[in-house]
Assembly symmetry: C2
Homo-oligomer: 376 residues x 2
């Protein structure tokens, strides 16, 4: 796996690159649809490729570990084969889900004990275990096992947590380096910067992570409830330190505006459940602003869902029909809205890439941010 930095914007820290993996190339900046349990909710694999034009998707280790379990995934020959998706896959470490989903969990230096949200059974994740599980899943990009601190988080907790995350990172690398990629293709480990919203901690963590000289680096612990200003400030602090010749992945971010602002700060990779989760509630993102399709105003609007949309659903179905489907809680409503939102995210980020290459990114971004913030 290697990253090519193809272009650096003159006005901002935005960059254009290409990440080469054994499952194909990823043009950055990129957005990665979330496929929690081995499926991007409501979307067929051929739609991920043809309608959304995703280049990489994400799987959640916590969910896949519980169901179907690594035994089944290994028997299938890895997640790509299990779900029949042949492009790159990234898995999170399971940590974030363990903290946010599980009712009862206990964090110690050794690892995290937690209860399954499905059957209440107890499980124990350690940095070593998280690496082993992700190797079994067969992700192209494996994430370090970290603690994602909540917001707000007091300084001392954030500091101690960050230091433990660094010690866990060393254990992750030790475990990771013991064995080659499990299925014959390369699997890379990305470390994660933590430090909550404290500048000095973020700097310390970014240096620690940069020193690992990894194939790519991630920023975690943001988009957990902090104001957008803090998200941007911390991102900038960290991208000033992380090496420019490696891809930078900002975890769990965010709105279309967040994406554009963070691209300007030097981020290359994003993931977020927002496009699919909001779709399920009838909230659509478009280049002219957001739409709450449940609103009465769309009841007899027989215009296409999004005349500027890139997916076939945008022109095939109308706003009035989608409104009806979402209001009646029909599967097809979720399917259409999810394809639309993800296709929009991917098209937006693709356009950003073109603008960076053309040298008009900053102007375009400021223009887009105004439009994206509108409610239609």
């Amino acid at each position: 796996m290697h990253f090519e930095l193809l272009h650096q914007d003159k006005d901002t820290k935005a960059r254009v690159g290409k990440l080469h993996t054994d499952h194909g190339e990823i043009e950055t900046p990129i957005f990665m649809p979330v496929g929690t349990a081995g499926t991007v909710k409501g979307i067929h694999q051929y739609e991920i490729e043809n309608e959304i034009q995703a280049q990489i998707i994400l799987g959640n280790t916590y969910h896949l570990f519980l169901r179907p379990g690594t035994e089944v995934i290994e028997a299938a020959g890895g997640l790509h084969k299990f779900i029949n998706y042949n492009r790159p896959i990234l898995t999170d470490s399971g940590g974030y889900q363990v903290y946010s989903l599980s009712g009862s969990r206990k964090i110690t230096e050794e690892g995290v004990k937690f209860q399954s949200h499905i059957d209440g059974t107890y499980h124990f994740f350690t940095p070593e275990r998280a690496i082993d599980i992700q190797k079994s899943i067969g992700a192209d990009i494996i994430m370090a096992f970290d603690e994602c601190t909540p917001y707000p988080c007091d300084y001392q907790y954030a500091k101690n947590s960050m230091k433990m995350t660094h010690r866990w990172l060393d254990r992750c690398f030790a475990q990771f380096n013991k064995t080659p990629g499990k299925y014959g293709y390369e699997q890379a480990l990305f470390p994660i910067v933590q430090g909550s919203v404290y500048k000095d901690l973020r700097q310390e963590s970014a240096k620690y992570i940069a020193d690992t000289d990894s194939l790519g680096n991630a920023i975690g612990g943001l988009s957990v409830g902090e104001p957008a200003e803090e998200l941007y400030e911390m991102t900038e602090v960290v991208t000033d330190i992380l090496p420019s010749e490696k891809p930078r992945y900002l975890m769990g971010v965010g709105t279309p505006i967040n994406l554009l602002e963070c691209i300007a700060l030097g981020i290359d990779m994003f993931d977020c459940v927002m496009p699919t989760r909001n779709a399920r509630h009838g909230l659509l993102f478009t280049s002219e602003g957001t739409i709450n399709i449940k609103n009465k105003k769309w009841e007899k609007d027989f215009s296409p869902i999004d005349p500027n949309g890139t997916s076939s659903v945008d022109s095939f179905y109308t706003k009035a029909y989608l409104r009806h489907l979402i209001k009646t809680k029909e599967y097809l409503g979720v399917q259409i809205a999810s394809i639309h939102n993800l296709a929009f995210y991917l098209a937006l980020i693709k356009e950003a890439r073109v603008k960076i290459m053309e040298g008009t990114f900053l102007e375009w971004k400021d223009e887009m941010v105004k439009k994206l913030g509108q409610r239609l």
Copy 2:
């Protein structure tokens, strides 16, 4: 609208025909996927056409009347335009749903008062109203407003109910003939034979319906819990009387075996929620028998869902993956299983058509019935 009877089987009452409508031709025998609220659950319109290869779908008047309502559908220019489906559509009269879904309902000679299952509001359907609503929806084939008797049903109730259904039918035709098709294409009204499981009532009703000289005729009040033998016996009694030069539609039937047996008894059209409803519970129909995909035995079965299947999902996804999706209640599981089951129904009935034309239907049917009854 007219029906061409193309071939009559020598061994059974099975027939091959073609129903010409202003929205295209329907090759009979045919199965009609149920699209209750203007969507075949979990399936895109392009999949209805390309994956399932349906030739006509069904809409439910009760559901469409409540949501989005005829005002919206009329504003769209009819249901075809509202949902962007340009092949024929049939609507039921709303009667069956009113009886089976509504908690509180009251049947009188005038019509049926019922409560919405959504918001508890009261509504009143009469034969005239059911016709008007279906004309507004814009179905190519409109069904008469009848009373669908439950099973079991005592003789006197069944007889009185049948007589009222006949009186309601006269009112349906009177209302229907007052106005032309609402959207410029032909809309036809099909009357419905009732009479529960009583041979003399079924004969009386079939004669009454045959005398209306309609473009097509339906058989209702079956597949409501009676044994298969009674279903077949009543079907045969009725098809002996209904004119052979008109299509015969057996409402709400049934399993793949029911379809083949009733084709042998002279039925041309079927609809049923079974393929989609069972799909949502992980029950698959295949040419080798039925599969409960939730069973442990499929956990590591990485073979295609159905090697004999005609839709792309059958070969693209594996049994183990589909099992995982159904068990984790993922949308994609419902989507895949629904496409599979409907594509199987359509392929089965298409094969029946070929066998009837070839003169080998009876032998093939008896062979298939054995296989279809197996559990894999």
